[in-house]
Symmetry: C2
Subunit: 353 residues, 2 copies
């Protein structure tokens, strides 16, 4: 299994020289694309889309057909693990994910176990295989998982968003219960990402979407510690190719120094962080991925070019930058604005390499 | 008009020596108190409560009757200014504030003007007078306003919460329109806070609840610059007493160094920030207020004592700390847990003074 034809993304994650700055976009296969909405309508629901390798392959490839992006990301959901744990994932229309059976008491928590991805998450691995085949080596495929803590937030609350008060209450009042959940989640995330690597993903990303709701000390004890544990047990290579890891804690700008030591090759940055300052703080310990404010993509191509140039110049000369948004793309983004962004990054970035 | 009998809060804000660490709680007059809910039911709606000086006085005093807090905070809403501008504030049950007439286009924005607080926000000033009288000098009264940017978020979106994408889009695409709104808001906030000072508040706080949704550069240009402008034009003293100013940017932990130079005497810290690190970063330029995770108050008194002690020790020896939560108190907080917190701060803090 050789490197993809365009391996700029993988090299940038590892801090190796590249001729320009690679770019992909969080949630690039999403509702801002009319063809995505059509496929989703054919599939039935969002979950049907995720659970069908055919549909998942189709939507994974859609943004690549439109834009010369430097990476594909597996189309899936971060909540496949708790779903496989039996919590009953469903999507309330317009309100995001919910669980039918959230963790409500000690007995539920005691019964929790890490799913076997090769059987219980087979549909994801099948999608990986099928997407790799369809990509035919054009660009690398990025796999992903939610972080142990972020999964716990959804599992305890039964839903996303809000301030996760129940979760925060539990970690103060019953830290041993929280650690029990997180140990199981760390095992599950490790097995899941290793199975994705085995199936063919060429890099992995851990989305710690809710680590930023924690007090600093709690973040280190209940989120970062378990991300470290996952990183320490991930396969480092497959068939002679190193598998880079990206860790993205939304709202984690205060903790970049410790994040840079968690075992990741690259850190995702949300848009609140100044990327130049971030680079100075982490040095060459990790590459950085980000971090355009997704709201910029709602403005004009002229504004997009200006702001993209600002991020590129902010990172400055040298390797180790993967361009991305600082959060998932808004469903209200005009697709032509994404074209303008990808073009701006590709045409403006060679001067920094 | 002499200092209140208990002026520990005012002295701590100014970095002066105090025998213990003062404590008050954001949203201390709120739904976690049964007596508050009773008054609110009698008043009719939340807005009726805010607009009646009698009711506002009643609920302002309720937490002080239960707990030996070191400050009272004017009961009001941060959206009184845009309401007085004619945007039509109302509260959708269980969904928070809404405006009937949000700023939708350039013409609406062109018509905007700063209200005259002495007429259009008379009810707030009357409440201040009445609360001061009822307090009889027991503890100081804190006035407040939303920041110019935070008010703009609500005015543009017509509602709170979410990610304020319209607002962020406008500042990238039409920065001159955004600056126009912010200039008017800065004038309005200045006039409003000066009128509150004139009416008798003994300290003021600017709530920049949404500055943290901005990219760093945008935060400085669109939020901090206007907070500075307000601070520069606030009355510094009244009847020989200095009026301390507190600035609280939720999610502003990355920018404490520049916040410390905005003209505030004290910075509010949300719970994600480590207070010891924050103190090291700002030096003795400003006092700090905060920053217990509000979720701690959902746990047991034992946990509350432990976590309060951790914040006190984190700030360490010396003056310039006002204890508070890192965000408003949850409506699900048992009132007896607030008693435990206030007692913990008062009994554990003298060793640091």
């Amino acid at each position: 299994m050789s490197r993809p034809k365009n391996d700029v993304f993988l090299r940038a994650l590892l801090g190796e020289p590249t001729p320009y700055t690679p770019v992909w976009i969080m949630r690039q296969a999403g509702r801002y694309l009319p063809e995505y909405n059509q496929t989703r309508a054919r599939a039935g629901s969002f979950l049907d889309l995720c659970k069908s390798p055919d549909f998942a392959t189709e939507v994974t490839l859609q943004p690549l057909a439109r834009f010369p992006l430097d990476a594909a990301i597996l189309f899936s959901d971060i909540l496949t693990i708790p779903d496989a744990m039996g919590l009953g994932l469903y999507f309330a229309e317009g309100e995001g994910p919910r669980f039918e059976r959230p963790l409500r008491d000690e007995r539920d928590i005691g019964k929790l176990s890490a799913p076997d991805p090769t059987t219980q998450l087979r549909y994801v691995l099948d999608a990986v295989t099928q997407i790799r085949k369809a990509l035919a080596g054009a660009v690398p495929l990025l796999g992903f998982s939610g972080s142990p803590f972020t999964l716990a937030c959804y599992m305890i609350e039964g839903r996303g968003g809000g301030d996760f008060l129940e979760t925060r209450k539990m970690l103060y009042e019953r830290p041993e219960l929280m650690h029990h959940i997180l140990e199981i989640n760390a095992r599950a995330v490790t097995d899941y990402l290793n199975a994705q690597i085995e199936a063919g993903v060429q890099a992995v990303m851990i989305f710690d979407s809710w680590g930023g709701v924690l007090a600093g000390e709690a973040f280190h004890e209940f989120s970062l510690r378990y991300i470290e544990r996952v990183c320490a047990q991930l396969r480092r290579e497959r068939e002679g190719q190193k598998i880079p890891r990206i860790v993205f804690t939304k709202g984690g700008g205060l903790w970049l120094e410790s994040l840079a030591q968690c075992g990741a090759d690259a850190l995702g940055l949300d848009w609140t962080v100044d990327i130049g300052t971030a680079r100075a703080r982490v040095g060459d310990r990790v590459a950085l991925q980000g971090n355009l404010d997704p709201a910029v993509l709602l403005a004009t191509p002229e504004v997009i070019r200006r702001e993209a140039a600002r991020i590129l110049a902010g990172y400055g000369y040298g390797n180790g930058h993967v361009f991305n948004l600082g959060h998932g793309i808004s469903q209200f983004t005009p697709p032509e604005n994404v074209a303008a962004l990808v073009d701006a990054v590709h045409s403006d970035s060679p001067q920094f390499h």
